[in-house]
């Protein structure tokens, strides 16, 4: 096993750890952190698989995608954090609750 | 000859990094840890950068290395001050024997 493969495996494991956190953890800030970790895992896998090319240089297309992806991810995080603060303002808690049963 | 000196500097730098980490783990309170970390690590980085600058292929590369060290020193010193002052203002008491 060569080193790009190790990093690709790291990518999928990070994705799963993030997904687990997203499902299990309640606090929204932690869900946002989890989404970021999932994103990092996906970026990692893209780039690691792009490194399989036979030539000298790794494939530049995934690199370009990931660079824009990182910048978009940070702006999405900022939006998510604002939404979370808005929710706390409205409901007083940073946890998503099921809708009350009697009101459906 | 140059190789020997840069090796010397690099190893000495690594030693300082080790000392910094030991200080971070072993010292009893925030202020002493702050002191261990900022001093030892910045000297360690300085020694390493000296060792690497001796190997640099051109003057501009050596200049960039020194610039990096200067920036780390500036940031490290300011941040150490800000954290120590913040801790004092928030009532973290310095450790006494």
């Amino acid at each position: 096993m060569n080193s790009p493969m190790i990093y690709a495996l790291l990518g999928i494991t990070l994705f799963s750890v993030g997904l687990y956190g997203l499902i299990v953890r309640e606090h929204l800030l932690r869900k946002i952190l989890a989404l970021n970790i999932m994103g990092s895992g996906i970026f990692l896998m893209l780039v690691a698989l792009g490194k399989r090319s036979a030539g000298e240089l790794p494939d530049p297309v995934p690199h370009a995608m990931v660079i824009t992806g990182i910048v978009v991810a940070v702006s999405a995080t900022a939006l998510a954090l604002t939404l979370m603060l808005k929710l706390v303002e409205a409901s007083g808690s940073a946890v998503l609750h099921d809708a009350p049963k009697d009101r459906s | 000859m140059i190789d020997f000196f840069s090796m010397l500097f690099l190893l000495a730098g690594a030693l300082f990094f080790l000392a910094g980490t030991v200080g971070l783990l072993r010292f009893p309170d925030l202020y002493t840890r702050l002191h261990a970390l900022t001093k030892a690590d910045n000297v360690g980085l300085g020694l390493m950068i000296t060792g690497l600058a001796l190997q640099a292929e051109s003057l501009s590369v050596a200049g960039k290395l020194v610039l990096i060290w200067g920036l780390v020193l500036l940031a490290g010193a300011s941040v150490a001050y800000l954290i120590a002052r913040g801790a004092l203002l928030r009532g973290v008491l310095p450790w006494k024997r």
């Binding site: 299990v24 030539g55 939006l79 | -």
Partner: protein, 319 residues
Amino acid sequence: MEALDFALGLFDILLVFLVLSLAWLVMSSEDLFRAIVLFVAFGLLMALVWVRLEAPDIALAEAAIGAGLTGALMMAALDRLSSVKPIQKVAASAQRKQLSLSSKVLPLIALVLIVLGLGYALLSLPEIADGLTPNVKENMAQSGVKNPVTAVLLNFRGYDTLLEMVVLLLALLSVWSLGGERKLSPRSTNPILGSLCRVLVPVLILVSCYLLWVGADAPGGAFQAGSVLGAAGVLLLLSGWHVEQKYLLWPLRFILILGSGVFIIMAAVLLLIQGGLLTYPVAQAGWMILLLESAATLSIGATLAALFLGGVPKSRVDQ
């Protein structure tokens, strides 16, 4: 050579182990602040991972964003979380129930299965696959730049980057419409913080210009330069930098739309002249890309700093 490969292999394994355990600790930390600090450390190590994958372009972006901006964003959010005053208080703590053991274990089992499945798929991929490398190499001569990543970003897939700029703008618009007005924080009286900013901000701006310029033939470019510029903006906001209200209205909005605007105008003009979206004439490609990148850098920097503020900026000095 053998020993060198062995040492690099050890480095890789230790790095993978560290990144993985950091990710796990971020998720399992009970203390929110601890989770955020660990996440910042995670970002730092991700930059090292990009270096090991021979992706210095990404390492630059990650160093500016993962290690700097994201941490600052999270910390500001944590601060607001503890100071926000809820309009109406739902009986949250009463409603909160402990997760049962099965609802923790079942996802874990499902995720182990997902890892195994994805891992199997990964390992059954062909060892060598060129992807789009040959296509990029073939067309490099016509791209007007020497850095393949910049060529992909601004030339071959320029329309992607155009839309990315619009996405950034949309994120900011949503934050502005949700976050309400936000006053700039008062000027810090701390002399050390002041002098740190006075030295660091000009250097940040200089490095940003350097990254923008060098992006044509070495790792660097608009996104990295913009992130560094955004960090300069965050530092200024933190130290209580004052701007008059009149500059926060139209001049700020002009800078924010500059990137997308120049991109769209350029695309439309080229569509009319060349008959294709963002198909540059070969001789002019170099300076056109530089123009686009400069505008994009300014917009990205301003957008990231504005996102950090989390609302429509309002000067403290009211007219």
